[in-house]
């Protein structure tokens, strides 16, 4: 009975987290990108708590706390500051239009199901049903990175993909050891800070963060 509940809850949570990723495909302003990412991270930390409680792995509480502080408070704060500095400008027309990318997102999830099939077959954890959804989120994140034009949107897409990886790890193995998990978080934070510096430089040099403008040498 408990396993059944665990199964349902983990699949439901994974689909909610995936949905936040898919919503990004049709949002336009940088603010709503940042907001969506924040709520996705909140959902992800809740997911960690649920897995920690029902999977009886108290280490995951610490991971959930770290995740919440980092991805639902610190990074969204930085993003807000960035967004203020660049002004609330909207994502330019992405390379693939919204309707097509939504349909593609559906196909990515189907693809994720077929890719993770062997994994799901091997695993006997009650969380296994969520793994294809996490893989789908990784695909959607990758797709977001390559189709957005604004550097800031690309950063958020990267973070969303990172969320997908964390979710996959949590669902597949109840999370990697705490130390590895923390290493990954710090890695993500460092990556984010470096990218942020890059974006500021791009903005100072070109007066835009539209990377489409950067395909020819200016100076």
């Amino acid at each position: 009975m408990n396993n059944q509940l665990f199964f349902q809850l983990s699949t439901l949570g994974a689909s909610v987290i995936l949905l936040f990723g898919i919503t990004l495909l049709w949002r336009k302003s940088m603010r709503s990108y940042a907001e969506t990412f924040k709520w996705q991270s909140v959902a992800l930390s809740l997911m960690f708590i649920v897995i920690g409680y029902l999977g009886k792995d108290p280490e995951l509480y610490a991971v959930a706390a770290a995740l919440f502080i980092l991805k639902a408070i610190i990074i969204p704060n930085y993003l807000r500051r960035m967004e203020k500095r660049f002004g609330d400008d909207r994502e330019l027309k992405p390379y693939v239009n919204v309707a097509t990318s939504l349909v593609l997102a559906g196909l990515f999830v189907l693809l994720a199901y077929s890719v993770t099939r062997p994994l799901v077959m091997v695993s006997d954890l009650p969380t296994r049903a969520g793994m294809p959804l996490a893989m789908g989120l990784i695909f959607v994140g990758l797709f977001l990175i390559i189709t957005r034009k604004k550097a800031m949107a690309q950063i958020i897409s990267f973070l969303v993909m990172e969320n997908g990886i964390a979710l996959l790890a949590a669902l597949g193995t109840y999370g990697t050891p705490l130390i590895v998990e923390l290493g990954v978080f710090l890695d993500a934070l460092m990556g984010f800070l470096v990218m942020q510096v890059f974006v500021y430089h791009i903005h100072d040099t070109f007066e835009t963060i539209d990377v489409d403008q950067m395909n020819e040498l200016k100076h």
């Binding site: 349902q8 809850l9 949905l19 898919i22 049709w26 997102a105 999830v109 189907l110």
Partner: protein, 317 residues
């Protein structure tokens, strides 16, 4: 087993209940929206008065209108009325349950839309044509999403029969936190807003030529024809809300034919309609209407949700 007389009485009672509740629901949503926007708002019973007034008025018809224009209000009204006999509102399974399943319900509603679009074109006015063209665009986009959402539900229950879906969900409450069920609900909710001409897609409270869809089609109607069409569209809203409420959260619906359980079912139905009405009013207050060219994106979202619902209920077995 219910006797034939009882069955017919029950069905007629349910249809009459839907007919009576529909204007009240719309009036309630309008009133709540007005209150949320710091306006005083017309009383909740205004739609009833509106209907009464329209039925008493004379009908003015353009000289160019054909018979199609005259029969459309009756067809539209009849389509929705038949649907109220099929949708389990207060009891499941209904006595007429085998007469039509979820597909019949949805396509009967679309049949009404089709005739309304024809009537919009019939008089040859610019607004009517524009409204019909928009309505057909949206209907054509919404249809695959609706069909997929239905299949998502049907896969969960193993049947497209409405009574069976409701009964199965009642027996096995764990289904409701199934992601397939939840995603199908979200998909169905978005499509319901599109189909009933609510806010992100169409604004029911303006006649602004740039944005109107449903209002543009029925611009030429007056008197009792207009009353019938308006009543039908309110009824459609009620039917969609009831579908959402009873297919996904069926508790409270009567399963046995006793006076007490029927009374309870009516009360819970009204409560569910009020909850959905509040949701819609809050959504409509918070968001602006989408530009027409963004509507395909919204419906695309619903399509993806429905697709995910199907994949998860199909592949998670």
């Amino acid at each position: 087993m219910v006797t034939l007389v009882n069955a017919i009485l029950l069905e007629i009672g349910q249809a009459v209940l839907a007919l009576l509740l529909a204007p009240g629901l719309v009036g309630f949503v309008r009133w709540l929206k007005a209150r949320l926007q710091n306006r005083l708002g017309a009383p909740v019973w205004l739609p009833y008065v509106e209907l009464w007034k329209l039925f008493g008025k004379e009908v003015v018809i353009s000289r160019n209108a054909s018979w199609l224009f005259r029969v459309t209000p009756y067809i539209v009204f009849a389509c929705v009325l038949v649907v109220t006999f099929l949708v389990p509102m207060i009891i499941a399974p209904l006595p007429f349950d085998n007469a039509g399943d979820l597909l019949v319900v949805v396509y009967l509603l679309l049949l009404g839309t089709f005739f309304l679009a024809l009537a919009g074109l019939d008089t040859g006015t610019a607004f009517g044509g524009m409204g019909s063209s928009r309505e057909m665009t949206i209907a054509a986009l919404a249809e695959p999403a609706i069909a997929l959402a239905i299949f998502g539900l049907a896969l969960g229950a193993g049947s497209t029969n409405l009574g069976q879906i409701v009964t199965l969900t009642l027996i096995n409450p764990g289904v409701t936190i199934n992601p397939g069920h939840f995603l199908a609900f979200a998909a169905m909710f978005i499509v319901s807003l599109a189909e009933t001409g609510r806010l992100p897609v169409d604004n029911p409270s303006t006649h602004l030529e740039l944005t109107m869809i449903h209002e543009a089609m029925i611009l030429e109607y007056s008197g009792r024809y207009l009353a019938l069409i308006e009543w039908a569209s309110w009824l459609k809203l009620t039917v969609f809300f009831t579908l959402l409420a009873n297919l996904f959260i069926p508790w409270g619906i009567a399963t046995t034919l006793t006076l007490g359980s029927l009374g309870l079912a009516v009360l819970t139905l009204i409560l569910k309609l009020v909850v959905l009405g509040v949701t819609v009013a809050v959504i409509e207050t918070r968001i602006a209407k989408l530009r027409l060219f963004r509507v395909p994106e919204l419906i695309g979202m619903s399509f993806v949700l429905a697709l995910l619902a199907i994949t998860s209920s199909f592949l998670l077995k």
